[in-house]
Amino acid sequence: MLKYLIRRILWLVPVLLAVAFITFGLMHLVPGGPWDREKQLAPQIVENLNRKYGLDKPFFIQFRDFLWNALRGDLGVSYSYQDRGVTQILLTGLPKTATLGVAAFLLAIIVGIPLGMAAALRQNSAVDYFSVFFSTLFASIPGFVLGILLVLLLSVALHLLPTGGWGSPKQLVMPTVALAALPAAYIARITRASMLEVMRQDYVRTARAKGLFENVVLVRHILRNALIPVITIAGPELAGLVTGSFIIESLFSIPGIGRLFVQGVFARDYGLIMGAILFYAVAVAVVNLAVDISYAVIDPRIRYD
């Protein structure tokens, strides 16, 4: 397993490198430069600024410099926030994005898995129909739309929650629910299907034939096996939480990395754009890796290469 993991981690390096390269290249294709403001700056000033920030150097040199700095934690300068580096700016946004992401992840699991389990254990009951309805519906509605509907209901109609911003727990509720709904629905659906599949297996019958207590059969025999496909299939959905958070942040005016990215795009802030995309790419890669690791931990069959 160790070999497998190391190979996976090593593979990340060229991939992330390629991502950085492509992004860097694309950004330099964006028409206009970082100095486009309302007023056209004099060409001489633009030239000086470019020289100051090293933007006049050849493309590959710029890229090399960027990489070198990035490895040391310095993601460069921001062209819109003159006083701070990109790393610093991203770090202000990080706690918000991370909190939202983790909260949504936990909510998705806490709702999805028990719902799927209950549906499988009580097939054709009210719980089952509700679970199927819930997962079909919410697996297809994007968090963005759900977020708007939640705001309409809970803020506009019922005045229970604020429409956005960051700081109080109340402001975390709707974004988290909007972000978690889709993964939760997905997880519930997979958990139910997986449990139904496992419950039919021979080894469950063997466990009962041994006279084990029903809750032991459920947890040690059914659940442990049923959760394996849940991780494989629903895992990548959780990576989707990372990218999905960006639009939710925009909707709820949360000052996280998503918002910073959008700002950067409008301001042609190369540094910020690069930093944000790299952050997301790394985050997705880390989540995928974590999914692979937990898969290997739970299923002993794939541990040996």
Binding site: V15, V145, L152, A157
Partner: protein, 290 residues
């Protein structure tokens, strides 16, 4: 003496059988009906509407739903219903044209990779891996800000990011076709055989690809709405549901209907395509064939 009873079953082709199964899936049928209705609405309504989607009427701003304006008017006096239908046009166009691009790029690349095999295949798949590592919506935004311009550029931006899963799928399907024994046998009998047998197998191979494209449509629709919501989508006065939400959000307390209708529209259209995709997937699944 035991008598064997032969049950005679009607012979169905793959597509005929799939169609029958699809028809029985109520959610999928509902989805198709909604899509058809919205498409008709998008085409017909603007032709018959007394208002243009860009026509401002500053004497009737921010009116709630009424007989004159079934879904109300916005902050510039424009009729919401007309704008909603016009926005539907945009979304449907995005859904269709992006998938055309996706198929035009993804199918050949996947097929090429599968048939060449070896290093070419390897290279192409590594490239696909890199594309997968990108957070897709962000890449779309980046591309969009590079391309600028009209709605066709939006199609391009979305299409250039979305082709990856179709290419991977195509490659997989063709590879599994190649592996089949009958191909080897056909080759042994003379190459002609391959073409006729491929004709029978290709429909099976196309199934998952059709399903994938169907599922891609709502994602493309959402991408356009997100782009417009942020502000780099279609340029006004071309209407888009995302733009409507963006413009109307500030007034959400005063005039919630400005945001409600486009949001619901996005959700319903996406839901319909998803149900259709689910239905297609079940209908085309060879294992469920009776």
């Amino acid at each position: 003496m035991a008598v064997a009873v032969e049950t005679l079953r009607a012979h169905h082709t793959l597509w005929g059988d799939a169609f029958i199964r699809l028809r029985r899936n109520r959610l999928a049928v509902a989805g198709v009906i909604v899509i058809i209705l919205l498409t008709l609405g998008a085409i017909i309504q603007p032709l018959f509407s007394p208002y243009g989607f860009a026509k401002q009427d500053l004497y009737s701003i921010l009116q709630g739903p009424s007989r004159a304006h079934p879904l109300g008017t916005d902050e510039l006096g424009r009729d919401v219903f007309t704008r909603l239908m016009a926005g539907c046009r945009t979304s449907l166009a995005v859904g269709i044209f992006t998938q055309v691009i996706v198929v035009l790029i993804g199918l050949p690349i996947g097929a090429f990779a599968a048939s060449m095999g070896g290093r070419v295949d390897n290279l192409l798949m590594r490239f696909v891996d890199v594309m997968y590592a990108f957070p897709d919506i962000l890449l779309i935004i980046l591309l969009r800000s590079i391309f600028g311009g009209s709605i066709y550029m939006i199609f391009l931006a979305i299409g250039l990011v979305a082709w990856v899963n179709v290419s991977r799928l195509t490659r997989g399907q063709i590879l599994s076709l190649k592996e089949r024994d009958f191909v080897t046998a056909a080759r042994a009998m003379g190459a002609r055989g391959i073409y006729t047998t491929l004709r029978h197998l290709l429909p099976h191979a196309l199934g998952p690809i059709i399903v994938a494209v169907t599922f891609n449509v709502p994602r493309a629709i959402f991408a356009e709405a997100a782009l417009s919501y942020i502000g780099i989508g279609v340029k006004p006065p071309t209407p888009s549901w995302g733009t409507m939400i963006r413009d109307g959000y500030d007034l959400i307390f005063a005039a919630p209907y400005l945001v409600t209708f486009p949001a619901l529209a996005i959700g319903i259209l996406m839901l319909s395509f998803t149900f259709l995709g689910d239905g297609l997937r079940d209908a085309l699944d060879p294992r469920l064939r009776r």
